[in-house]
Point group: none
DNA sequence: GTGGTCTAGACCACC
DNA sequence: GTGGTCTAGACCACA
């Protein structure tokens, strides 16, 4: 996998994990790839995957059993949706609003831009 | 001033400068604070402000007269407006659209969030 | 059964065995669950229970008859009581005293906490 | 510095940091040793210190400024005292109470043990 | 096999 | 100088 140079790999792995969960490609409450497996697949050092898994642990999105592996939490999907939604409303929307004011754009302008982006 | 830990301070200072220009709080073709003044005000290392000013120089948004100080270019407002608008439509809007799909949000949801943000 | 993540499971199983003996819920000189039975009940790998039983064997707290099973030693209760009491006075009490000094807690504080814990 | 073999070094470093704060040997809101300095002093790999500092960051006990260093939070002393006290009451006291019941020890027994430990 | 910890050393952006 | 990230590889306890 190719990673964006401007963002830490472990953060991109977290994004990847979140996406896989949101797309329901990883099943809740069942085992996910081991650190070594995922590291091999992503062509990345195991420590880097471990760091990503560790952050997900802190967020309660996954849990682990010693000597066995990592598992998705039962409510991982909801948890991530909440995390993302909250972050969206708290941070991105205000930034967006501020930017629109600065660029002198109306909500109608925004809507048309979004529709255009969705078509392309 | 408090800075976001996830983004280089000098980039945040550039954002700040752009904002001040767009809000017409700095006048075109007239002197802006010296590196030291701004560094003192922002509680930041002068090197950091210098780096931000340098980037603005490269963009042609400001110019300097040796021994006198830094000045806003005559067309700084238009320049920035163009830079920002283009970047907004090319990058931010598509990201926004993608995120809305992922979070299963409609345009109406977005509008209500924006209105809410504008009230607060 | 839920185990504490910070301590090896086999040690926690030993603690559990000791508790069962001290609470006289396992009878001296009579058969205790087989490795497989206990492993099934605790939802744990049989190897893990085997490791715990082995330690108990070494301590002389249990013995086994080949092909028949594991049994509590006749003096298991006394043995464990002595082991635990000694360890309590030698290690835990000094640690407790040190911690109380650090947290600036008096003996009266401690007593009230204990009473509260006993009520709940 | 010598570390206990049975416990991860980074956790022991956290304990050390907490002790230094509780003993007021590190001043609040002022700089603490850099990762490299502390690593050198403790004869440990910088990564290990970084891991300890990182956990303290999460707990809000310290904060950092990029390119400058780590600093104690203003309320680090209170924070740690609360963390430790809470952990003491929630975990250690109930364990103590349970153990006393199991070993058939009264509160008076405990008090005499503690006094004895404080004399020695 | 698994995860957890640790080392040695590298490169980078930032101040 | 600082912290942040990442690699390569080691050893250990645990299941």
């Amino acid at each position: 996998m190719r990673f964006d140079e401007t963002k830490p790999i472990y953060l991109q792995i977290i994004d990847l994990i979140f996406d896989l969960i949101l797309q329901k490609r990883w099943e809740e409450d069942s085992r996910i790839p081991s650190i070594r497996e995922l590291a091999f697949e992503l062509e990345v050092n195991p420590n880097t995957v471990a760091k990503a898994y560790n952050e997900c642990l802190d967020l309660g999105v996954i849990y682990n059993k010693r000597g066995i592996g990592y598992f998705l939490s039962k409510d991982s999907y909801d948890k991530i949706l909440n995390i993302k939604k909250e972050e969206f409303i708290k941070n991105e929307v205000p930034n967006l609003a501020k930017k629109m004011r600065m660029l002198n754009l109306s909500i109608d302008d925004l809507i048309s831009y979004i529709n255009q982006a969705n078509i392309e």
